[in-house]
């Protein structure tokens, strides 16, 4: 029997001819990732068990992004612990204030993850790198510690759902609308323990930023990983920044899937996930009287250059509605720099928005945009759980950058095509 794309990558990294769904394997790792929240727990475990070196100084990335620049003394202590660990163990890919970015925007941008890799990260959105045709999945801090020590991790080989994409996105729609639409269709546990494999003619029309955004939210459907077929767009993207050789894996013709779901991209409208689960989706045009207090455009889901470009196009020459606070966070230093060069930052500030250095900050209710009781936000982030961005009675609506920017101008949630 044939293997899915994920199964083929896992088999190759386990040194096996073939694997099947449900099989427990030990796989070689190409990258182990942690951030300023999850790494301290891993470092404590790593030290407690007395490991004296890491498996490969080039294959560990520590990105200070969640509470960085440090939001308080405790956060500063955690970052200091990571900084010291990186220095002590000679970790090559350590990114701190000034050269950091949000991890899942930064690693692809730096060419640290590529097609055919196996990557684990102590952050649930590590599934983002599946956009490049890698097997990439989120784990906890103990798995990260074990990965740093041995360069291996155990996995139960997942089965898969195949998403066959057809058609082309319509105006003001992007990868975010597609993944919200899919989560709305299959639910927050619709792909539990499984791979989501994206393929089809429609897939090839999606930009790398669209793919990164979609793979990023595979976890919001409960998936183990999201993965895209490798095409010219992938190869071009990776070769422009590659740090190590890559291998292209493709699913076998006779691979077995739990389900095949056809998605017509042209039928997808600007989509919004209502509180308090990413599966509570509606067309933005159906939401007519949701007044917003805050808008956040950024995060590992939507803080990339094309997201900034979309926001700038909508906000150019406009001003956000009175009473709305709009926070825009380019995800990496180089995206930020490009936004300055292209004049986007000027557009944002003239429109009444606040622009920040890269940070995960508001997405997880850390800092830089916390909501008060009963406040309502529209955000291009990935989760709208109870209390995620602040007070437990606050509400978060998830959307694309186009919908968020248009809504900030109107003061109410709206379809960007209405502007």
């Amino acid at each position: 029997m044939g293997m899915t794309m994920t199964q083929k990558i896992l088999a190759a990294h386990a040194g096996l001819e073939s694997v099947c769904a449900g099989q427990l394997i030990k796989a070689r790792l190409d990258m182990v990732l942690g951030n300023d929240i999850t790494s301290p727990v891993a470092i404590n475990e790593f030290k407690k068990f007395g490991f004296s070196e890491v498996f490969d100084k080039n294959k560990i990335s520590l990105v200070m992004d969640h509470f960085v620049p440090n939001k308080d003394i405790k956060a500063a202590e955690q970052t200091k612990q990571c900084r010291t660990f990186a220095k002590t163990f000679g970790i090559e890919n350590y990114f701190d204030v000034g050269d950091m970015g949000i991890e899942h925007a930064l690693l692809p941008e730096k060419g640290l993850v590529g097609p055919g890799d196996v990557i684990i990260g102590a952050d649930s959105h590590t599934c983002t790198y599946g956009a490049l045709g890698a097997f990439s999945t989120g784990v906890g801090s103990t798995d990260m510690a074990a990965g740093m020590a041995t360069g291996e991790a155990w996995f139960k080989v997942p089965s898969a759902i195949k998403f066959n994409l057809t058609g082309k996105l319509s105006d003001n729609c992007s990868g975010k609308d597609v993944i919200l639409y899919i989560i709305g269709k299959i639910g927050v546990d619709g792909a539990l323990y499984k791979s989501m494999e994206f393929t089809g003619d429609g897939m090839h029309t999606l930009s790398m930023d669209d793919r990164l955004c979609m793979a990023n939210m595979a976890i919001e459907a409960g998936a183990k990983n999201g993965i895209f077929e490798v095409d010219d767009i992938t190869i071009k993207y990776y070769e422009e920044r590659m740090t190590h050789p890559y291998t292209v894996f493709a699913a076998d013709e006779d691979a077995e899937y739990d389900e095949v779901i056809d998605i017509d991209l042209s039928a997808i409208r600007p989509t919004v996930a209502c509180p308090h689960l990413p599966e509570n989706t509606k067309d933005a045009s159906e939401l007519t009287d949701i007044k917003i207090d805050q808008c956040v455009i950024g995060s590992c889901t939507n803080g990339r250059l094309s997201d900034m470009e979309i926001a700038a196009k909508i906000l150019r020459g406009k001003h956000i509605a009175e009473g709305v606070r709009c926070i825009i966070i380019p995800a990496t230093q180089s995206i930020y720099m490009e936004c300055i060069k292209r004049g986007y930052i000027e557009i944002f500030i003239n429109a009444g928005c606040a622009v920040s250095t890269p940070t995960c900050g508001p997405c997880l209710g850390g800092y830089m945009g916390i909501l008060a009781a009963d406040e309502v936000a529209i955000a291009t982030t990935n989760r709208n759980f109870v209390g995620r961005m602040g007070h437990v009675t606050s509400k978060i609506y998830l959307s694309s950058p186009a919908t968020a920017a248009a809504s900030a101008i109107k003061g109410y949630i709206c379809d960007p095509n209405e502007l």
Binding site: L24, I37, T38, P40, V41, N44, E45, K48, F49, G50, F51, H66, F67, K71, D72, K74, A75, Q78, G121, A122, D123, S124, T126, G138, V139, G140, S141, T142, D143, A145, A146, A149, T150, W154, V188, D189, L192, Y193, I219, G222, K224, L277, L364, G365, G366, R383, F385, V386, G387, R388, V392
Partner: protein, 159 residues
């Protein structure tokens, strides 16, 4: 091994943000994390939980963030085992890796109520509800995972 205690019951999709809100993730101190456990869905939890108590959830328990602080906070609160219809996969892995016992059992998840007096036999996977005089059978834990638990967690098993 046996766990025996009073049940704290929650619904479907209990996410790691409500188990331990991110605003408290500026520490890795177990006791401090436990002092905020379940705060955003059950303010009373930390004051009513006793050592040995059992947590029961619905489908997709532990969804969301990969923060290991979530199972750590639950374990440090004194919870002896979490029973759910299904677990989100990262939470499932993390719980095993840090030695928090978890069992998948749709029947127990559906029938057990808050406050029930429940006993779990890990060797047989039998869950006994003394309050309702019912028994449920949990999914057996795969041998590979039992081995990690027996060796005292993931790092102990590879060291």
């Amino acid at each position: 091994m046996i766990a025996h205690g009073i049940v704290h019951k929650y619904g479907d999709n209990v996410d790691t943000d409500v188990i331990i809100p991110a605003r408290y993730l500026n520490t890795a101190n177990h006791k401090e994390l436990a002092s905020h456990c379940m705060e955003d869905i059950d303010k009373e939890f930390t004051s009513k939980v006793n050592v040995g108590d059992i947590m029961v959830g619905g489908a997709n328990f532990g969804c969301g963030s990969s923060r290991e602080h979530a199972p750590i906070a639950i374990k440090e609160s004194g919870i002896s085992v979490v029973i759910a219809e299904t677990f989100a996969r990262i939470f499932y892995r993390n719980a095993i890796n840090i030695g928090l016992a978890i069992l998948e059992c749709p029947e127990a998840s559906a029938k057990i109520d808050a406050g029930d007096d429940v006993e779990v036999d890990f060797d047989t996977g039998i869950i006994t509800n003394h309050t309702k005089t019912e028994q449920y059978k949990a999914q057996p834990i795969p041998p590979f995972i039992q081995e990690i638990i027996a060796k005292g967690g993931l790092l102990a098993s590879i060291k």
